[in-house]
């Protein structure tokens, strides 16, 4: 077990560099700049925006939201000297922080403990610990914060501290480490271990929360992050419940779950039921790291922060939408997981469905968790069902064979280590979604994702209809508004322009906005999502009903493609696309006449 005498004082110190902090402060301040665009910012607008932020903060239940009548109290501050005998009305009497309400960063997490189950796992080492360290180094986690790693592996606090520090030094995701910072961060780390099926380990976690409360006061707030194999979600959730650690009477308690949220509709519902026996839905944060990407959030910013796009965002102007998430990598040693999951569970049901929902949803009433998730649910519900009989006409699967990538030969899927020689696991899927609502009737959404495609690129392309009449020589091209999620993050608009010369000849040109013009590094999606979970802001986390609907949409596909061998329809002969190509030819046919996948 871990060392019995742990330091009581929580030296949550940071030595983040001033330049870094200023840059980060600017980044968190909203990135108000624009490129090649008018970005006039007026004071009046800022005050209004701040009022709105306050309201949004209150709506999402931020730990230290603005006191309700703070503004009035500021304006009448001229009427009193230091208040004696006015305690009941004085700022702070209600436990609300009057300073926080006036801060640029008017959302800050209360003192809390981050409990990472599976703390010595791959995800924790590569992503979580660097993300937490970055937040802490930037001063975003407050003065009273610590981390408890939990695992099945026997390890002392000291060994875990060494492990975490080594992980931070090795990970490419770690921010520049400021002098002395790592040593201070090390002091925040503790470790407990035990059998996740028993009670002892949860009892130890409970004691860690007691110790944290004693050290830095406040309440026993805790964020439980399940960075474990899915088979452990339910035992850990139950264990936390048995020991009363989901109870919020002594502080907020939240549960973060990594995908996959089930392996099909039935198991997803069973998992949700199991989780909800212990936790209220408002305590559950399902992580889809795509939603933490800045450029995915920028999709909402572009759509709902500008007046010029929304009038065109419908069946009157849009011909179709293409969403692509291509990977150049193969299995990278993850055969055990991938053979079970396949591309539909790995990418389509979660990441691509989220991108689809954000693209197709109606404008939300507010930028808050319920408003946005309500709209996503509505559009997912409007997707035309894909029963077994429709699968063949709307979905294409593929599996990569040997080929060349970047000039080097690479093996096919079936030649990857630990993959069955006759595996029928798909590594590519393209699907056509139709949305039965007024906005999108007749506008197909084409989604494709796969491994060993020519390059790594994620993009959402809104392809507009051709002009109704061609009055110039040559053909008419479609305008395309493309959101590049990664890499070369940005937005481009393709349109036709006259070429120089005496003739009226048009050609396509691209107006391009690149996110790197801001000159700022993009934040890790995990850091954004972790901070939001600490703040209690669930806007960027899929809700139970979203996950359920996404499973409903892909269930028909899974049923047909994974039917028992005797009942299975004959599928394509795998492999059906060479590594380094854009997938099987059938995917091109899926688009129909007069359309083609974008050349990326």
């Amino acid at each position: 077990m871990s060392a019995p005498n742990k330091p009581a004082g929580n030296k949550a110190a940071s030595k983040s560099g001033a330049k870094k902090a200023a840059g980060k402060a600017a980044k968190t301040a909203g990135k108000a700049s624009t490129v090649k665009a008018d970005a006039k910012t007026k004071e009046k607008g800022n005050v209004q925006a701040n009022v709105e932020t306050d309201l949004a903060a209150r709506t999402v239940g931020v730990a230290q939201a603005a006191p309700a009548k703070r503004r009035a109290s500021v304006k009448t501050a001229q009427t009193s000297t230091p208040r004696k005998g006015k305690r009941s009305a004085a700022p702070g009497h209600d436990g609300q922080n009057p300073f926080r309400a006036l801060m640029r960063r008017n959302r800050a997490p209360e003192p809390a403990t981050l409990v990472i189950f599976g703390a010595t796992g791959d995800l924790s080492r590569r992503k979580l610990l660097p993300a937490v360290f970055g937040l802490w180094q930037d001063g975003l986690l407050g003065s009273a914060f610590n981390i408890v790693g939990v695992g099945r592996q026997e390890m002392t606090d000291e060994a875990f501290k060494d492990y975490a520090v080594a992980a931070l030094r090795e990970s490419k995701e770690t921010d520049t480490i400021q002098p002395g910072s790592l040593e201070k961060f090390r002091d925040l780390l503790y470790y407990e271990y035990g059998d996740f099926g028993g009670d002892e380990v949860y009892d130890l976690v409970g004691k860690e929360l007691d110790r944290a409360e004693e050290a830095h006061g406040g309440r026993k707030n805790a964020l439980f992050y399940l960075s474990t194999p899915p088979s452990l979600f339910e035992p850990i959730s139950n264990g936390l419940g048995r020991l009363g650690l989901a109870d919020q009477s002594e502080g907020w308690r939240r549960l973060v779950i990594e995908k996959p949220f089930g392996r099909d509709l039935t198991s997803a519902r069973a998992l949700n039921d199991a989780i909800h026996r212990v936790w209220d839905e408002s305590q559950v944060y399902r992580i889809d790291h795509y939603l933490g990407k800045e450029t995915v959030q920028n999709l909402m910013a572009i759509r709902f922060g500008n007046a010029i796009f929304e009038p065109l965002w419908n069946r009157g102007y849009v011909d179709h939408v293409q969403i692509t998430a291509s990977e150049d990598l193969g299995l990278e040693g993850r055969a055990g997981y991938y053979e079970e999951a396949g591309v539909v569970r790995d990418m389509l049901q979660n990441h691509l469905m989220q991108l689809f929902a954000l693209t197709a949803m109606e404008p939300p009433a507010a930028f808050d968790a319920d408003a946005i998730r309500d709209e996503k649910v509505k559009v997912l519900r409007a997707v035309k069902e894909i029963p077994s009989g429709r699968v063949k006409s709307v979905a294409v699967r593929g599996q990569y064979g040997p080929g060349t990538m970047y000039g080097e030969k690479v093996p096919g899927y079936r030649e990857e280590p630990n993959v069955k020689a006759r595996s029928v696991t798909p590594t590519y899927v393209a699907v056509k979604l139709e949305v039965d609502n007024w906005r999108w009737q007749g506008v197909p959404f084409f989604l494709r994702t796969g491994k060993r495609l020519p390059k790594k690129v994620t993009e959402i392309a809104v392809v507009f209809k051709r002009p109704p009449l061609g009055i110039f020589p040559g053909g008419l091209e479609r305008n395309v508004l493309a959101f590049r999620i990664q890499p070369d993050e940005g937005v481009s608009l393709k349109f036709s322009s006259k070429t120089p010369g005496q003739e009226m000849v048009l050609r396509e040109v691209v107006m391009d906005f690149r996110y790197d013009a801001f000159g700022a590094q993009l934040e890790s999606p995990y850091s954004r999502l972790l901070l939001d979970a600490m703040l209690g802001d669930a806007t960027l986390f899929p809700r139970e009903d979203e996950v359920d609907l996404a499973w409903q949409i892909v269930s028909g596909i899974l049923n047909v493609w994974e039917a028992e061998p005797g009942r299975r329809e004959k599928g394509p002969d795998f492999p059906n696309y060479p590594s380094g190509t854009w997938g099987p030819d059938e995917a091109d046919e899926l688009m129909g006449a007069d359309r083609r996948w974008r050349r990326l």
């Binding site: 030296k11 200023a22 600017a26 624009t34 004085a90 926080r100 001063g139 006061g217 013009a517």
Partner: protein, 317 residues
């Protein structure tokens, strides 16, 4: 900021107001950079003795705040000189810089045509003299934000533009640190017991400390700064930066104290009341001039918070 770039500046190249854009375009050609950040203009008005400091501060400013920097040196002669250069940024980017030297009257006609249109305009008064004259009047008409040392220059907040104060901006980490102290509800509940404030500052420059005290006082609902004590001292920080703050009352003490080390961005925190005794540390990074500029340019502070602090601070001068 510009740390981490291996690129060299391009220029300065002598040019004229009329040819400035062409000169910049020629410099751009040499960079082979496709991405240009047309994010805004910052017009820094200064005098020769402060020019170097202004240039250094602007060199540390990323292109996302202003893709074009126009420095107007106001104590030149009627013979206008214009120099164009590209200043490298992290990530292989550059920002444009035009440095003009002339009399204030000459500058007026020279600066206005050089402002890149349809973007955000920041005007920074980087001189000791009180702002005024036609030049500033013209520029504030175009400005989205005017950045000055507002207490020294006695320039009250205005409704025509967003007024930003670098002293106020650079004390932001201290405000954030104080807010963190009271993120714990039990600590916040002690605030009604606070009736005294001590603000310690480095060196003789106490104006940022006065603005800070004004912020604390107005937040607590105080009408004046009579119960505030200012103490000058040494804590390894720049002249004018804060060294610490204490909020005191009967049986209650909250204190943030810089360590005294020139290289420490961490300050100690002590909280005491009713048998509670907490000690911890919080990051309060010292901000350079460029950091302060970047902060106000990224998003102006809430006007009313600054105005209340300014009004209380001004009364003490």
């Amino acid at each position: 900021m510009t740390d981490g770039t291996d690129l060299k500046p391009l220029g300065p190249v002598d040019t004229t107001v009329r040819k400035a854009q062409v000169t910049l375009d020629e410099l751009w050609v040499q960079t082979s950079v496709e991405t240009r950040a047309y994010t805004g203009n910052i017009i820094a008005l200064t005098v020769k003795k402060h020019l170097r400091r202004v240039q250094e501060a602007l060199a540390g400013l990323e292109g996302r705040y202003a893709g074009r920097q126009i420095i107007g040196v106001m104590d030149g002669t009627d013979d206008l000189t214009v120099h164009a250069s590209l200043v490298p940024q992290r990530g292989g980017l550059y920002v444009e810089r035009l440095t003009l030297e002339a009399s204030a009257e000459q500058l007026q006609g020279a600066i206005l045509p050089l402002i890149r249109p349809a973007t955000v305009n920041h005007v920074w008064w980087g001189a000791d003299s009180r702002p005024g004259g036609t030049l500033l009047a013209e520029l504030t008409d175009l400005a989205d934000q005017v950045i000055v040392d507002s207490l020294t220059l006695d320039m009250p907040p205005s409704r025509h533009y967003a007024l930003a104060d670098l002293g106020w901006s650079r004390s932001a980490p201290w405000r954030e640190a104080l807010a963190q102290v009271f993120d714990s509800p039990d600590a916040a509940r002690q605030l009604p017991n606070i009736d005294r404030l001590v603000v310690r500052h480095a060196g003789k420059k106490d104006l940022p400390a006065r603005l800070y005290a004004g912020f604390v006082a107005s937040t607590l609902g105080w009408t004046n700064l009579k119960n505030v004590e200012f103490r000058s001292g040494r804590c390894g920080r720049e002249n004018g930066d804060l060294c610490g703050v204490e909020l005191l009352g009967d049986g209650v003490r909250f204190a943030l104290s810089a360590s005294g080390s020139a290289h420490s961005d961490v300050v100690s925190l002590e909280c005491r009341w009713d048998g509670v005794n907490r000690e911890s540390e919080v990051p309060v990074p010292a901000m350079t001039l460029a950091d302060g500029l970047a902060r106000v340019m990224a998003r102006p502070e809430r006007g009313e918070v600054f105005e209340h602090a300014w009004a209380l601070a001004k009364e003490t001068l």
